[in-house]
Subunit: 324 residues, 2 copies
């Protein structure tokens, strides 16, 4: 059960992270790069990754300073990938605000993303406990998230992509960095490899569940909660859990629906797709899959001493139940 006290706790963590990002010491010149970087640091976000670093690290008594530097590093790494992905995907809205390439231009967004990444690197190098291990895991996560985005682009408009390929993509694009966030908590808490690996698996499973949920919410939530237009991934020809399962379930029927929605009003399209996914059991299958990964994540948590597990159990439940 997700308690009010847990919700208050992560709200407090989110508040602290936002405050640190907003007051982050940055030069004012050159404005060409620091104005957009400030804009990004002022943005909203769930802050799931630094919250995860904090909750796992706290279990193992990691230092507050390390958790802060590492948490900010992970959040900025995530933001760097978002800024560049938004250019590649031509997304104009992120967390309810214009994306950097939309507010400025693509050159500015490329460079601001690069700068944010360099700052993230500077922060991760500052951790005092196992800095080299932390930096190595950080670099591996970065390369994997690039590979995941590469699959995402490669799979666009490809109607031959099957579930396994989709899972490979989201493991790298979303799962690995959430896995890394949990792993980092263990590294900063100076845990042995066996514990760190299990924490990594926990985060990976949680991340896969998170992405599947994200794909569902992109169609079944509302634009206001999501802070971006609904259905934009689908329209961009992205592979999502819903399209992959629909294709696997009834290729011909799905192609028919998909072709019918072309050039329709987006709201009509979304209504029609919701109906199709619901009536054909696709939504249910997708939810079951998210549940399966959530359960696997919960099992991984058994590596943590029972009396210290509650917060992360609640986080897992919280991610599973989220509406945005």
């Amino acid at each position: 059960m997700v308690t009010d006290s847990f919700l208050n706790h992560i709200e407090q963590l989110r508040f602290e992270i936002n405050e640190k990002l907003q007051s982050f010491p940055l030069d004012s010149e050159p404005k060409y790069i620091y104005d957009p970087i400030k804009y990004i640091m002022d943005g909203k976000g769930k802050r799931l990754r630094p919250i995860l670093v904090n909750l796992v690290g706290t279990v193992y008594g990691a230092s507050k300073e390390d958790l802060l530097n590492a948490g900010l590093a992970v959040e900025l790494l995530h933001n760097f990938t978002l800024v560049h992905d938004d250019i590649m995907d031509q997304d104009n809205l992120r967390h309810g605000k214009a994306t950097v390439h939309k507010k400025w231009d693509e050159s500015t967004a490329i460079l601001a993303g690069d700068g944010i990444y360099a700052i993230a690197q500077i922060l991760i190098t500052k951790v005092k406990t196992n800095p080299l291990k932390a930096v190595e895991a950080f670099n591996k996560a970065t390369l994997y998230v690039c590979e995941g985005q590469a699959y995402d682009k490669e799979f666009e408009h490809n109607h031959g992509i099957v579930l396994d390929q989709y899972l490979t993509m989201i493991k790298k694009k979303t799962g690995w960095m959430i896995g890394f966030s949990a792993e980092l908590g263990g590294i900063l808490g100076d845990q042995p490899a066996s514990v760190i690996n299990e924490l990594q698996s926990y985060g990976l499973n949680l991340g896969i569940a998170f992405q599947i949920q994200d794909d569902i919410l992109e169609i079944f939530s509302d634009a206001k909660s999501m802070g971006k237009s609904l259905g934009s991934d689908l329209i961009a020809g992205k592979q999502t859990i819903l399209t992959v399962l629909a294709r696997q379930n009834d290729e011909i029927g799905w192609k028919q629906i998909w072709d019918e929605t072309k050039n329709r009003d987006i709201q009509v399209t979304i209504e029609k797709l919701r109906e199709y996914f619901d009536e054909n059991g696709i939504l249910k299958s997708a939810k079951n899959m998210a549940k399966k990964y959530t359960e696997a994540a919960k099992n991984n948590l058994q590596i943590i001493p029972k009396e210290k597990r509650a917060q992360l159990e609640q986080l897992t439940e919280f991610v599973w139940k989220r509406k945005k």
Copy 2:
């Protein structure tokens, strides 16, 4: 004097670096990111930065393995900035080959650049001597090169930019990374801060001289040697040592020439500008300035024991005399 034996030595180093880059172990999937990364690693380049790491590190007995990893890391960091800069500046040719965004598209080039940077980070983290110092200096250099590129973009088409601003820009955009390459040789040779700082100054001065030379060659060399079209920076409204000095020398006269060259055939423009820079002493002032920084670099080299200084003295001379 630059001896044949020195030229053979750096040719050998260049050969080894190219070989390591061409045979660098990379996954084959996803092709979306690894095909362009292989293409970049196959590219040509002067390899000045890894050569510098090698020559400085060898003076101080750094390990061959560290010098290799660090040299590749620095070269890939440089390549990452080139791939992204080429998008921002819409340059279509680099070292005689189509740039990544031209051969593929901008999304591919953004992501391939990010991937190359992640690989560079993985490599620098592998050094055995003072890895954290090396990584810290690497990150600082990355942020500075981003700041330099930001100034470069900010100053485009701005006819109010003066020499000091130009120098701030090239120090960060070009100078710092060459300074960092020399510094890295000292870090890997486990030298004290006083030596490392002087090595950094050496590279910084060399880098500033290098960029001034580059600005001159962009107008006074030939396209074949440069592997890119002449005058492209000028046409893109970039600040170069020649335009900044011409403006400082005779603002009205320079504006007249500049306006006259607009919309002219590029070959005619270049001829006309060469004539102007030559006849008005601008070329001479620019060369003197490059010489001044070259001399400063040579002075910095006195930190190195006399009997071990010859190779770097020749490198300094070589950069000063280069024709491409």
